[in-house]
Symmetry: C2
Subunit: 218 residues, 2 copies
């Protein structure tokens, strides 16, 4: 029975708790509180926290413990700009290299996303929708075939999560997702038509629009 060690378990939970905003930006992560919450000793905790430091989700001050990385407007802009460039790169390579299985995967993911648009209602499950949304975009970029590039992309996606959750909550039930939905359709059309320039422009815009909305919120 593969029982992963406690450091791995606490890493997973703690990461979620930070990304979803349960531990707010700048929040001091006290050992005793975390020990209590996750029911582990200090050593697995320190291991997990060390890893989150490398992921740039947590800061460490020597001899003064850990705290959640602050969110700033400049970081927001930087992350989203970089994501736009990287995602655009992935889409471009995917269009060059993708095969029929890749195309089918896109169609399937787009269909699932479309079918569950109801999750975007005011009382819907935004996290569930975001899951499908993520899978849709992943279906497109995985055609690039580069593990390293996809890993870089995932790192940035996760680092953007705290900001994205703000955007999701802000838009919930305001019909602001309609534009988003339309962009997805256009993207699928451009990608399947292997229209490189159009697809790159669309994906870049698709990422930068939420960034501009968020800049007004911070």
């Amino acid at each position: 029975m593969p029982q992963e060690n406690s450091a791995a378990k606490v890493l997973h939970h703690l990461k979620q708790d930070i990304l979803t905003g349960l531990f707010a930006a700048g929040h001091k992560l006290k050992m005793n509180a975390l020990k209590e919450r996750y029911q582990v000793g200090v050593n697995p905790l320190r291991e997990a926290l060390s890893q989150l430091v490398v992921m740039q989700l947590v800061q460490v001050q020597d001899q003064r413990g850990y705290r959640v990385c602050p969110v700033t407007q400049s970081e927001l802009v930087d992350i989203y700009d970089t994501r736009a460039h990287i995602e655009s790169l992935c889409v471009g390579l995917a269009i060059e290299r993708g095969d029929e299985v890749w195309e089918a995967g896109i169609v399937a993911a787009a269909y699932r996303l479309q079918s569950n648009a109801g999750l975007l209602q005011a009382d819907g499950d935004l996290q569930a929708w975001e899951q499908l949304h993520q899978q849709f975009h992943y279906a497109i970029v995985k055609g690039c075939g580069s593990e390293e590039l996809l890993r870089v992309r995932l790192d940035l996606y996760e680092k953007a999560s705290r900001y994205r959750n703000l955007w999701l909550r802000h838009n919930a039930g305001h019909g602001a997702f309609d534009v988003n939905q339309m962009e997805h359709e256009q993207l699928v059309t451009a990608v399947l038509a292997r229209d490189l320039e159009a697809a790159k422009k669309l994906i870049s815009k698709h990422i930068l629009v939420p960034s501009q909305v968020l800049q007004g919120l911070l």
Copy 2:
């Protein structure tokens, strides 16, 4: 006196020891041996190792300890291809955004690299040259102005280090660096002339050539 904790110290040393190849790919990292070598307890060690896992330099198998990540031909190709794309992206943005201070920095770094070409002799200090080489390329890309993009670039650079050291040792004293030197001159010219297309082609090739040499060695 800013005395960083022992986990940070051992992280730095251990990372170097892996990147320089002192601990070979696939090597089992036994706690007792590391404890002895770095003169620390197991906990700081586990912290450092956890971080190296996130950096993808070591692997962890539950209850079976840590070992240095293996090197593979496919990873080599993937890392260098991805580096070529990312570096090209950085150079492109730098050309668009760079100012005069940026230009001056490039000229200065190029001059220092040129002046110390003697380090490439068979009996030279290759690590010292690589330091200058790295600084030269950094002088160019830092003009892109994106912290996130530069961080991604640095991650890939470090991940490529183990392969690069092979290349450096292979080329030492064989005059194979002459082409490399010429590429640097051409790159500086293209960048300062703000010739986007030429610069992107040059930097991409500059990264991919060592990759092709290395593919023959593995």
